[in-house]
């Protein structure tokens, strides 16, 4: 009974948010189409390019049409730190010569222009040996900070409400957030972790609301939102590595015994067992990383593809169909936004629960 009432509140909440977003989505689509029209006037419309540009990170915050807010570029080169505004790149049309190197923006990635116009990439996790590491405040970082501010404002005010109205029934924003907090506690933490759940509540709550709020901000199709933050593999990598670390730091002796000295397994298989278990340890958070990344990115790609249909067919006739589908997808993505936050948190709780479980062999 308790569960179903929580679910009802959740669905109600979701519907309210959906309604808000529906209105917003209908407003935002003309803006988007205007922007695309101007681009398509110049060169043949290439949907995959536009889509990838939208879901990738960027060095400027696109506001409206050609208006964009430049973001600081912070480069850590082998010679020292360089900080300048991304407006110097003029959207990739100009090079910028800093203290140490000349830089160029290619597909929104900063590269060093060397002698004979040879470009040197910045370092990636795959290729570290570069003289340039890009620590810029990109669109995703800005979006993440916005999400952080939203979270801090919401939960500080909720927290002060709890202090002010201690022992009383929740009210306003507090009553909006409390079912969610209780949902994380009663439906995610408690059943999967067990009686030691309280230690992990801060992490689970932070992960849940961080992912959810950033998913939602990513769904806002106009200025402050729209960054593909939780659909960026770097972000999901960090979140899943945090899960990995927390799970393994909290693993008890049963957890490690199961991995290193498994009972009922012949000793000569142990090396193979260790490899399998190691793969298991890594692959669980890896799946978390891929799941969140792929789900959110896929959602963005689908919405953008549907919008792109208008420009592919170069007709306004397709627009109503396209817009209808986009609205449908947006609503579905609202569900996915909550669901992915839920699943990420649930699986994290499940892994923690598995690591701290008291076995009774």
């Amino acid at each position: 009974m308790y569960n179903s009432s929580i679910l009802k509140i959740k669905i109600f909440t979701l519907l309210r948010i959906c309604a808000v977003f529906l209105t917003l989505a209908t407003f935002s689509i003309p803006a988007f189409s205007q922007e695309k029209h101007e681009e398509s006037a110049e060169k043949p419309f290439e949907p995959s390019e536009v889509i990838l540009e939208h879901i990738a990170d960027s060095h400027s915050l696109h506001v409206w049409n050609t208006t964009a807010i430049p973001l600081p570029v912070i480069l850590y080169t082998d010679k020292g730190l360089e900080v300048f505004s991304s407006s110097h790149f003029e959207h990739g049309h100009a090079d910028y010569t800093g203290k140490y190197y000349t830089y160029r923006l290619v597909e929104d990635k900063v590269k060093i222009v060397g002698a004979n116009n040879i470009l040197a990439d910045s370092a990636t996790v795959w290729k570290w040996n570069s003289s340039l590491i890009d620590f810029s405040i990109t669109r995703n970082v800005a979006s993440m900070w916005m999400g952080m501010i939203v979270l801090l404002v919401i939960f500080f005010s909720v927290s002060s409400a709890y202090k002010k109205r201690s022992g009383k029934a929740p009210k306003g924003l507090q009553s909006f957030m409390e079912p969610l907090i209780l949902f994380v506690r009663d439906d995610i933490a408690r059943p999967n972790i067990g009686y030691k759940y309280q230690r992990f509540m801060p992490l689970l709550l932070t992960v849940f609301f961080f992912i959810w709020v950033n998913n939602l901000i990513g769904l806002v199709p106009f200025f402050p939102g729209g960054a593909n933050l939780t659909g960026n593999i770097a972000v999901t990598l960090v979140l899943s590595v945090i899960t990995l670390i927390v799970v393994n730091l909290n693993g008890n002796k049963h957890y490690w015994a199961h991995i290193f000295i498994p009972a009922d397994v012949p000793v000569w298989i142990w090396p193979l067992w260790w490899v399998i278990e190691l793969v298991g340890i890594i692959s669980k958070p890896f799946a978390l990383m891929i799941r969140l990344f792929a789900n959110i990115t896929a959602g963005h790609i689908i919405v953008l593809s549907l919008i792109s249909l208008i420009f592919v067919f170069k007709s306004m006739g397709i627009a109503p169909v396209s817009v209808a589908f986009v609205i449908f997808m947006d609503v579905l993505e609202l569900l996915v936004a909550a669901l992915q936050a839920f699943i990420f948190t649930l699986l994290t709780a499940l892994f923690i629960g598995g690591a701290i479980e008291e076995h009774h062999h």
Binding site: L7, D187, A287, I290, R291, F293, A294, N295, L347
Partner: protein, 69 residues
């Protein structure tokens, strides 16, 4: 060319996931119909299982992403 092969790969992985999640959803609904009082537990188990299946499919999708470009 590589892009279309990647798309094929993505499509194939989606078929697998579709069958898997369909099975999970169907069985979960059966289970809930048989024991409505266990609905919340079945839902949680269903979501976890669906997430795992979906994870496998997403691996396929991501691998086909790797093939792009």
């Amino acid at each position: 060319m590589i892009g279309s092969i990647a798309a094929l790969g993505a499509g194939l992985s989606v078929i697998g996931a579709g069958i898997g999640i369909g099975q999970i959803g169907g069985k979960a609904v059966e289970g809930i119909a048989r024991q409505p009082e266990a609905a919340s537990k079945i839902q949680t188990a269903m979501i976890i299982a669906a997430a795992l299946v979906e994870g496998a499919a997403l691996f396929g999708v991501v691998v086909s992403f790797l093939g792009l470009r």
